[in-house]
Structures are given as C-alpha cells and as structure tokens.
Subunit: 401 residues, 2 copies
C-alpha cells in the first residue's frame, strides 16, 4: 500500500510518543494519551486507528464496560498488543545456558536450558547452542509474533557497544562469541551482573542500586542516577581491586569459593566441626556450609559471618563512592543468603557512615540474569519503539486484519 516511505519527522515523533505511552502505561484512553503526548484527541485517535490496523496496539473493552466511568459517553480504550512482538533473553553462563521468550508485556511464554561443560573451549559450540536454544524457546512460545530483540547475558565485561575486551586468555572472547552476527534480528550483548541489576531494578526501581552476583566470583551490576554503568572496556562492576585493597589474595572470589576456602582452612587449623568434617573435602560446597550453619555448626557460622563481613565491606565502598542505596545479592545461592546478610547489616555501622544501603537477597534465584535480559529487551523497546517498528516495516503496516 501507499505507506509513505519518508514519513514526516513530526509524524514519526508522535507515533513514537504514543507507542511509548502504550508501552509504559497498560490500558489507556484517548484522554490519557492526550496528556502524555500533548496531542489533540483527533490526532491521538487517528494514530490509534493506524497502530491498531498495523497490529501494534489493540482496542479493548470501553471504560464503562470496564466499570471505570458512570456518566457520559464511554471512552474507547487501547493497549499494547502483547502478541505484536516477541523478545528473548538468554543467560549464556559458563556452565550452562538458560533462555526465556516473553511477549511485549513481559509475560514469559517459554523457557529452556542447556548444560555445558565449563571447561570445553569451543566457540562454535557455544554459538550453535545459543542458536538452538533461541529457536527452541521461540517455537515453544507458540507465537507467530516477530522476534524483536534478543538480549544475551555473558560472564565477561561488556562495554556500551556490546564488545568485550581481549583478555589475557581467551575466556572473555569465548564468552562473547559474536552472537549478533549469528542470530537473526536485533541482538544485544550485556554483562550478566548488569542484567541482574536490571532485573532487580525492574522489580523495585531505585535510581542508585547495585546487584552483586555472588557465585564462584563476585561481580557487580551498578546503576547510578538511574543508568547502568559500563566504563572503559566494560570494566564497571569489576571487583578485582578487593585483592589489593583488602590486602589479601582473595580478591573477587564469590560466596561459593569463599565458603569452601574458609571451611577447609578452618578444618585444617583443627577447628571442631562434626558436620563439615564428615563430608569429603573435595566435594564440599557452599550449600553444605549453609546447611551446617542452619544446624548450628560453629565453624559454618563463622564462615558465613566472614562472608557477611566481606559483603559489608563491598557495601561500604559502594555506598560511599557511588551513593548506592540498595544492594541486591543475586545468584544461585541467593535464597540461602539471609544469615550472611544479617551479619553484613550488623557490621555495616562499624565500617560505614549512615545512611546505610539496604541489603537484600534477590528473590529471582537462578533466573535473575534471564529476567534481566527480558527486562532489558523491553526497555530497549520502550526507549526507542520506532526503531523496532521500522525493523519489520517491509511486511508491516499495510492492511488491517
């Protein structure tokens, strides 16, 4: 059809504003959109009709049927058509991948996962695994909607342009396996801790917050003044400095690693711990330590306390240097972290100044990164709805369904 190729600047601007309103608010009336876009009713309704015809929004029950108004002519109501597009989030971790497909309202339609041998260094394999997984969740989502954005979280620094630095080994390069070139549509690569931060930010928006991804290593996703930080070479949130600053050689080791290390050291130093001593030292995990502490084991409790103190130190730095108000600990062990956090909150007043940051454990568990990926995909859309709309334009916008 005769859809003008170079749609006027103004028109684009207005469509964008309306679409953004549709993304942010749920269902909306013309009057609300008029407030949001400062356009006339005539214009808003005209655009709504067009967007409806194009399939981006849909008309829902009017305000009276919905019980929202009593007098006067009922207002027509529209909302973003959740099925207008699909987004996919992938947590491309070291030892396994998780993916989710969601609609435009963030409703998860399908999930999938793959295990990977963390020690196998095979770029091709990682790429094809992600390709497979994306195809799988897309099919499982049973949605004919076009795939708008795919966000991939990787355990390596990522700069504002999605690139990872060349590290001494090949690890980062392996993790950031050039996904955009090997997947269809718009692909965004982001650091995993950053995505956790976005996930938590989505649940509880706060302008200055951090997510600490505490698995085998600690990595932070930092949100300051409402924006995610990347830094040179994507280095923001890197925690190696702890090594020299805290004058030990522990550095950025995470909860898993520290729990094992300090338990072994304690046992080697002859500490009594019937529960932990009974376990084979080689297969000892953080989960065992948490369980032992729960059961009252003194060594286990000490270990968790030390971990809590370390978290508190990190918190003290983040709150002072960056004005962080809320720190969320995420990762597989997040749900067990409460005893660690209790200790951290306890010592914080001794090593930092008020106001202290809120210290909480993530409720998202293993899904934090994937959820963040979905969240990020949706916020890309919210920020620039037109760009995406144009990505598909060839087939789109012609005739009403």
């Amino acid at each position: 059809m005769g859809m003008n190729v170079s749609t006027s600047v103004l028109r684009r601007l207005n469509i964008e504003a309306l679409l953004r309103h549709a993304f942010t608010s749920g269902t909306f009336t013309a009057a609300e959109a008029m407030d949001a876009t400062s356009l006339t009713r005539a214009t808003v309704l005209g655009l709504c009709d067009e967007l409806t015809a194009a399939g981006w929004i849909e008309e829902v029950e009017d305000s009276r049927t919905a019980g929202l108004s009593r007098r006067g002519r009922p207002a027509r109501r529209h909302r973003l058509r959740s099925g207008a597009g699909l987004v996919i989030g992938v947590d491309a971790g070291r030892s396994g991948y998780r993916a989710m497909a969601a609609d435009l309202r963030g409703t998860v339609l399908a999930t999938g996962r793959r295990e990977l041998d963390p020690d196998v260094v095979d770029r091709e394999l990682r790429i094809s695994t992600v390709q497979d997984l994306v195809r799988e969740v897309r099919e499982a989502s049973a949605s004919a909607a076009p795939l708008l954005v795919t966000v991939i979280g990787i355990p390596a620094p990522v700069d504002t342009r999605g690139r990872s630095p060349i590290d001494v080994g090949t690890f980062w390069r392996l993790m950031n396996s050039g996904f955009p070139e090997h997947l269809a549509g718009r692909v965004v690569v982001e650091n995993d801790a950053n995505l956790s931060a976005l996930a938590e930010h989505g649940l509880h928006p706060e302008a200055n917050m951090a997510a600490l991804l505490v698995g085998e290593r600690v990595g932070a996703g930092l949100i300051v003044d409402g924006r995610l930080l990347h830094g040179a070479l994507g280095g923001a949130g890197e925690m190696r400095f702890l090594e020299t600053v805290l004058q030990d050689d522990i550095g950025a080791e995470g909860v898993g690693s520290l729990a094992r290390r300090w338990t072994r050291e304690g046992l080697a130093a002859g500490r009594e711990s019937p529960l932990l001593a009974a376990l084979p030292a080689e297969s000892l995990t953080a989960v065992d330590v948490f369980a032992a502490a729960q059961a009252g084991d003194a060594l286990a409790r000490d270990v968790l306390d030390r971990i809590g103190e370390r978290i508190a130190r990190i918190a003290a730095i983040l709150v002072s240097l960056l004005g962080i108000e809320r720190i969320v600990l995420a990762g597989a062990v997040a749900s067990s972290l409460e005893p660690v956090l209790v200790r951290a909150r306890e010592v914080l007043p001794d090593i930092a100044y008020a106001p202290f940051p809120e210290l909480v454990a993530s409720g998202l568990g293993r899904d934090a990164v994937v959820r963040g990926a979905i969240e990020h995909a949706l916020s890309c859309l919210r920020e620039d709805p037109l760009e995406l709309l144009e990505l598909l334009e060839p087939a789109e916008l012609p005739d009403s369904p």
Copy 2:
C-alpha cells in the same frame, strides 16, 4: 508582534537542532547545517535568517572570502553570536570564592575573587558575597548580553537536582546556601570535584575519567560512560570509605593534610630532616614538604612517596570498579604533584591490573572548579538551547523580516 504563542512542535525541534549545531560546530554553512539537521536548504536558511534577526547567530564572511571555496556561488556562513549571552561560573569554596564570566564560546571576559574566613559560619554572608561577586564579574565583563546560566561549585555533595543532604553538622547546608533562590536567572549548583572533572573533560574528552580534588580533603568527580555521576544524596565521589577499607583512620584526608601529618609523625619518630625540622611545626604546609623533597630531603621524599602510594590505591579502585581510564589530580597543589604521580605510577602495576589509568596533574591550578563551572554552563546550553532561548523570549523573536 503576532508571534504564535505555541510555536509548533516541529518548528521548535528544528530551531533547537540548528541552535545546537551552532553551539557545537563553530562557523557553519547551510550545507553543513543541512547534514546536521536533515532539513532542506530552504528551511535551514529560513531559520538562520530568523535566528540572526533574533540575535542568536550572526552571518560572517562567506566561504569564498574566507578562502574555503573556489568555484561556484560562495556559501553564506553563520556562527553563534558569542555576545548573545553570558554565563558565569563560581567556585564557592570554604575559604574563598572565585568567579568568571564568559561568552557563549567560552571566552573568559572577567574574573573576580573574594576571601572568606573558613571558620565563620554565616549563611547570609556567603549568599551576599556570591551576589556581589556575580554582579562584579558581570559588570567587569562589559557585556550587555543577558545572563543565561550561573553555575556554582560547592564543597559538599550535590545530587542530580542540585540539593545537598542535611549533614550531621550544618556544614553542607552552609555551603549549599540556596543560591538559586538568591540569584537571578537559571542557577545550577554542583559539587566542586564534579566541576573539576567537567573542566578536564572539556580539555581532553574521555568517556571514563575522574578528577581527584586533592586539597585538605580528597573528593572525586567521576565521569563514566561520558556522564557525571551523582548518586543518592550526591554521594558519588565521596572518599570516606578509604578510612575503613584501608584500615587506617586517615580516610579522605587530602595531600595538604597528609603532608603535614606524616611529616610531623616522621619528625616525632626522630627522623633526620634538617630542612623540615627547621620550620615551626605549627605553620608547616604541603608547599614546604614539596620544596624540601625537591631539595633532596629524605623525609620529605618519603612523605611524598606515601602520598603517591595512597593515590595509586585510589586509582586502583577507580579503574577496577568503574573502568576509569584517566585520572586528573586537581587543586591548588596540582602543579607540584609530579613527584607524587611518579611514585603512584610506579606502584600501580603492583596493586592493579592492566590497562592502567593515565595519571596526570591538572594544568588548571586553582581555576579548575571555576573553569568547570563555565564548561558546565555551556554544556547546559548545548544540551537544551531552546530552554534558555525561551527564558528570555518576552522581547525576542517578534516579527518576520
């Protein structure tokens, strides 16, 4: 005078784009503006005429007279009229104020200063001093141009909205003395270290850099991903965490303070230092220590080395946690800091990982904050040229020629 009150959205947008181009590029031709704004020649020239009539831009010698083109009809050239507006920057320090007035191209037209007793706690006095000083530099600038923006740098945390937290004492509140309510026009309050960072950023733009203001206390201005960080309560750049992290009670003490402290401690511990021991302990300053080190005094050199090591620790944290690439040390002592920086660069490889940040001393000396204030004022204009244009509109933009 029939200028439509609600000038069309599109028109505003285009004027803004053109004005921004005028701010960023120096002199420009219609063709350049067409590229920048993606408008037609007809439109660009129309807007140029209007803006010229309104006094915001001016026509300068054409491209042939300027020797820029040989063939064809010479292109008309325009540029921002530097005299169209005035900006003022103030460094409202604890013990004295400095101010500068500059035109729209950043050329300094006048400077002024006032000394203040740092121990006098008098809000009214501080306000009236700034009012005086602003009036003084404005008059000294001999410019009839309207004052568009005044930026004031203060030694207290300032959040994104220009507010300082209520501290335990009244110091911060005293520093942030509600200037916007007591000065004419648009007034922006910003932290002094942040302004130093902007000053350095203006001279040598780098997306990830920090300014360390090292006077009696250390404070950092942090620029990450090209943006200044503020954090909750304006706390970003706060260095108190050093106190507990480095396990000493020195905390955020600056070069001046540390030089005195460590020299006294050295002397008290019986270190030999004919040069420094000769000076009265009470009036000893950092300048004396720098001079002694220059003259070969061993104690003085040790003190400077220790300061250098401390700077290196801070650098190690900033580069790792935030991906900072360049750290500029600013403040009154900046010009003497080279020996400190030499030591800092020397130890950095031992306590941090490559790539190391560039460590340099500011060349701006005592003017760093005021310069940053001017820089910030101009970038406010660059970001949103229309807002300012509208602030004065009453007399402006009346009839078409």
